[in-house]
């Protein structure tokens, strides 16, 4: 919670919010919590939001399939939501993008309505789900408070970006100096890294699938044939390579920028390297299922994910907040200062399954 002017503004809003909702809520939450900066109110508690909360409360709960943040963070957000909206519980189902999509597909095929809110890492999922008419359109009450370019980014209002970060290079500082560390993605094919690389698996992780698609586009499949010769340790989630580096099992890899910065800030020996050939923008969309068993609670949860409290949490975890009401940490590079690879959802629909198949042929698993 470092930073100057913007903090003042939020605490003002917080106070206004607390006054508006009266004291009863505060006593429910407990003084310890209210005292911490972590707690903050919704930016402007509108009558619409309160009415939504009432309707959500009668549903009592919702199920959230979530891939785009780590399980620990997903659990924290779920608890924060229930603290902000007592009486509405969140069942957090966290797995990698393709695994949550597999779970959703298994639900749909069996005709089981389990999932309310779906947050994947593979943009292509949403193209398919939209085509099949499985998503509900909802323009959030918070839409006008969102940062550009996230405000009304999807004209159909069936998806909202609720998370954004970059896929970047990471290296273990006790084994690799900043000079030695790879500067570009293409450096990963250098034989000197043989046995020292950790990567994710495109069939499990949506972000990894997107990355493989983009690298194939950039360098052709020869890139992966050379990468395979370097015998990388293939984990499943894109979260895993960074934890593998922290453990000392491997020395360089790739991961979500927020996670790398967070691990470094905790004193773990890893550092982020912005790749010269492009950080990959990894937007995490969230959608409400059309047949959601708890549609009102789902809407309330989307409001929460786009709201100020979630924004502050994102900022504290080294991400760019989706809401314009919270400023990012200073070290989060503004998008115009680094080279960015921007994936196109439409391409990923067919593109990711194709590269997954190629990956399996090249890497054997």
């Amino acid at each position: 919670m470092r930073g100057g002017a913007w903090l003042g503004r939020t605490s003002l809003a917080r106070r206004a919010g607390a006054v508006a909702r009266g004291i009863s809520r505060r006593s429910l939450i407990g003084s310890a919590l209210a005292a911490t900066a972590a707690w903050s109110a919704r930016a402007a508690p509108s009558p619409g939001l309160d009415a939504l909360y009432q309707r959500a409360k009668s549903e009592g709960r919702l199920t959230w399939y979530i891939a785009h943040i780590a399980s620990e963070e997903a659990e924290i957000l779920g608890r924060m939501f229930t603290r902000a909206y007592p009486g509405v519980d969140v069942a957090v189902v966290r797995a990698t993008g393709q695994v949550v999509y597999q779970k959703l597909s298994a639900d749909l095929r069996a005709g089981a309505k389990n999932c309310d809110v779906f947050s994947s890492t593979d943009l292509g999922h949403y193209v398919t789900l939209k085509q099949r008419g499985l998503l509900a359109a909802y323009r959030p009450l918070a839409a006008d408070t969102l940062r550009e370019p996230f405000r009304d980014a999807d004209p159909s209002q069936m998806t909202q970006v609720t998370n954004t970060n970059y896929t970047s290079l990471v290296y273990r500082t006790v084994a690799v100096t900043a000079d030695e560390a790879p500067r570009r993605w293409s450096d990963l094919t250098d034989p000197k890294w043989s046995g020292r690389i950790a990567v994710g698996h495109p069939a499990y992780s949506g972000a990894m699938g997107t990355w493989v698609y983009q690298m194939n586009k950039l360098y052709g499949w020869a890139f992966f044939e050379k990468l395979a010769r370097n015998k990388p340790q293939v984990a499943r989630s894109l979260v895993d390579p960074t934890t593998t580096l922290v453990s000392g099992e491997r020395d360089i890899g790739m991961g979500p920028s927020d996670l790398i910065l967070d691990q470094a800030a905790r004193g773990n020996p890893v550092a982020l390297r912005v790749p010269e050939d492009g950080s990959m923008l990894q937007n995490g969309p969230t959608a409400i299922l059309k047949d959601a068993p708890h549609p009102e609670a789902a809407k309330l949860f989307v409001e929460f994910l786009l709201g100020e409290e979630a924004g502050q949490f994102a900022a504290s975890r080294h991400r760019l907040p989706i809401t314009a009401l919270v400023a990012p940490k200073p070290e989060i590079a503004a998008p115009d200062r680094i080279k960015i690879i921007v994936p196109v959802a439409q391409e990923l629909v067919k593109g990711i399954p194709e590269v997954v198949e190629k990956w399996r042929e090249t890497f054997g698993v």
Partner: protein, 571 residues
Amino acid sequence: MSEGAAVAAQPRLLRWPSPISLLVILTALAVILLVANPLVQLTLSSLSDADTGEWTLHNYVVAFGRARYLDALAKSLLLALASALLAALFAVPLAWGVARTRMVGRRLVHAGVVCTFLVPPFIGAIAWILLAGPNAGWLNRIWRALTGAAAGPFNIFSFTGLAFVIALYAYPLIYVLVRNALELVPSDVEDAAQIHGAGAARVALRITLPMVAPAIIGGTILVFLEAVALYGAPSLIGIPAGINVVSTQLAEFFEAPIRLEVAAAFSIPLVVFTAVLIWLQRVVLGRRGFASVTGKAATRRRISLGAGDHLLSAYAAAVIGLSFVLPLCVMLVTGLSRSWGRPPTFDNLSLVNFQRILFEDMTIRGSIWNTLSYSLLAATACTVLGLATAYATQHRLLPGAGALSLLALSPFAIPGVVIAISFYTAYAGPPASLYGTGLLIVLAFVTRFLPVAVTTASAGLRSLNAELEEAALILGGGRLRTLGRIVVPLLRRTLLGAWILIFIIATRELSTAVFLSGPSSRVISVLTLDLSEQGRYEQLAALGLLVILATGVVVALASLASGRDVLQGAS
């Protein structure tokens, strides 16, 4: 079967609509719904087009049309063979030592094997990643510190590593069967050999072990089937090692868009293969199957091996050290640290992982509860159904009793992932619409472990003298009353033993649960797999310890209640 035949020769006691006839019909119906229907649906699904529903062999063409898929099949069989042989190598000397010799510390060895049995294979795999990760693994780090070498010798992410881990957490199965069989081998044959001048080793190899060969081979086949079915260790160790096996390949077919029909086609040859394997075993060994013999035997004496007593103890200590002590230590250290890659210094020491699991993380707490309750339910339902099936078939209370028995035993031949897929095919969607419910998982568990209950109950029933039941029947007690008042009380210990065994294996079951659990019906094994994707071994280790502790407590309570050793007789 002589008692059964004698009873069958009596006037038919089963009259409709007696209570027992209702029970028998319900039993048959349950077995058909649990075993036959999913298998039929699986077969039909493998032969039908995904979109049109028309008959086709296309799914088989897809399932076996790619070198990678065939390679997975070959790898799986090879891996299962290696694991099974290795497990036999671990188990047989221990079983022999505990049952027949004056090996030092026999009770401790037995306790160690029981403890190993409480460790789910996927937890064991996590512990071994921490121990033998090629760079960060503790064994390699210690090796480097001691020798000054640049690299350690162990790499868990390899075929050998995977086979080793599977064997380490499967050998208790062979141990149970072989030890129980050895307990029954009388000493006189051994004495004869010894009188003729054979040494202890020669007696063991030429006389004792051949006598329990059915148990050894049966146990090894059981481990082979377990290894084929395993999903957790192959995804934790196999994927980083680049090893694709049947279960991970089936998971691939289950990725979105789900190719259920192809998955079914891929499963069918596996079912056929294992069925042939079991049939072969029966042909070779006679009709002894997996049933252990119960009853009292002639006098038995333990043999002394001289210095070998200590040697064997050392071997047992090594096996248990590798399977239980070392993994437990590394999980304790890891579970108590903030970051497992860093040395266990004070600033790295923390209870935060336990705190998170026990007090913060709702998902984990919920799934611990699910695991325990589903396992309790499955063990109970399975034991009841197993007894009913065994009773109905042994007393031939219905036509086609033999077929019913065969059907109830057939899940032996079906890998857990295949059971999951067939249950998904049969019961996930309408009309049953069980997907995402705990019931679906409990039912799949009951099916998977039904053979254990049936064989145990059959063995128990065979050991009962028919006179007792006949007396009750002649005195006018109905069959149901006889069952409830005579048979069940007499078999109380056997049944409780089966219950405990099923409870343990249910808590560690992953492959059956992985495709059947929904958001509110997740079990620990599935959640562990999801959590393991992110490499958070500190939390996983803490979770593993709690799971072992929780299972241990339930098992200890049940053992106390039944006054019986956990791993005795129930096989």
